[in-house]
């Protein structure tokens, strides 16, 4: 059986209480400064520097998903996919991802969203991180062009738009590379990217090629 040995809790905790910092930032009405307040967000950095556990005094984080109906200052009004409503408060500690680590300026009404944060007394969610339009879907590569991949996802055709500055590939877990030349028609591929509400395509951040 491929079970691994247990590790103790990481001693790599950062020198501050992430949750308390976040809560204070929200209560203080801090301005939004973007994605990097709590450190690097790209996959390489995420693996190299694992996220510390959230404040153990708070048993669980809060999660919200849905589409953004309105951006009201630093509050995102979100309509959940099951009809629920969320008010997501961005703070100067909130990381924002939309194809890449970015700032709140990139968030638009109509975008899809996943948010992680903490419940506030006023009913809002103070967001630790928001991922805008992020998708991570298993596809089959049906066609390859210079600037796009033609993909099938289940029974649906999807166009994956390639961006020289942002799209990387990983071949069976190898290091990320800008070299997409090893992609092949018929290959299984995990596509991590940002959904485009305007045309239902995907801006591709990373292609993980399989067999």
């Amino acid at each position: 059986m491929n079970t691994g040995h247990q590790h103790g809790r990481s001693g790599d905790r950062r020198g501050f209480d992430r949750r308390r910092f976040l809560t204070r930032a929200a209560l203080g009405g801090a301005t939004v400064v973007g994605a990097s307040a709590l450190g690097g967000l790209d996959a390489e950095a995420a693996f190299a520097e694992p996220m510390p556990s959230l404040d153990p005094a708070i048993a669980r984080s809060t999660f919200a998903e849905g589409r953004i109906s309105r951006v009201n200052g630093s509050v995102l009004e979100v309509k959940g996919s099951y009809g629920e409503q969320h008010l997501v408060q961005l703070t100067n500690a909130t990381s924002v991802w939309k194809l890449r680590p970015t700032t709140a300026d990139a968030i638009k009404p109509g975008d899809g969203l996943y948010a992680r944060g903490v419940d506030m007394p006023d009913g809002t969610i103070a967001a630790d991180a928001v991922w805008v339009n992020i998708v991570n879907i298993l596809c089959t590569i049906r066609g390859i062009a210079k600037d796009r991949l033609h993909l099938s996802h289940g029974r649906h055709a999807v166009v994956g738009h390639l961006h020289a500055a942002h799209t990387t590939a990983s071949y069976l877990g190898g290091a990320q590379t800008a070299d997409l030349s090893r992609l092949r028609i018929g290959q299984s591929a995990q596509i991590l990217g940002a959904w485009r509400p305007e045309d239902d395509g995907i801006d591709v951040a990373r292609v993980t090629a399989g067999h």
Binding site: T3, F63, R116, R155, L192
Partner: protein
């Protein structure tokens, strides 16, 4: 049923969407168990049933993963941070056979092969969605 602490497996975790959703996830459906929702702490297991196993085939990657059906609960723990989430099996996946040999690492230690798929709610409780994959230990 409560999440336990008996070691069950280890490997890579990816994430997937299910249930009512936006974008390409809108066509994902509620999964093999009929209960899957992206906003719940749920997971897909590659041996949730024989029909599921026939699709995912983790054995082709050397992973003789035991059967755990719909409604089973597991603790999934980030290999390095120790962050843990308790999930309920609600779908079949990931398609392990398509990524045999793939490894995900942290702090110089790697886990090989995709062995569990988490919903966005579950995955984000122990890591960042933009990382796409995490090395995890699984307990029941």
């Amino acid at each position: 049923m409560a999440c336990g602490s008996t070691s069950l497996w280890a490997g890579e975790s990816t994430w997937f969407c299910c249930g009512s959703a936006w974008g390409p996830c809108g066509s994902a459906g509620t999964g093999a168990c009929g209960t899957c929702q992206s906003s719940r702490a749920q997971a897909a297991w590659p041996n949730a049933s024989q029909a599921c196993f026939d699709i995912t085939r983790p054995d082709l990657c050397g992973e003789n993963i035991p059967r755990r059906g719909c409604g089973s609960v597991m603790n999934v723990r980030h290999q390095c941070s120790g962050a843990t989430v308790c999930v309920t099996i609600s779908d079949c996946g990931p398609r392990t056979k398509s990524f045999c040999g793939e490894a995900t690492c942290c702090n110089g230690a790697c886990r090989t092969n995709r062995v569990i798929d988490l919903t966005p709610a579950a995955f984000s409780a122990i890591g960042n969605l933009d990382s796409g994959m995490l090395p995890v230990y699984i307990y029941e």
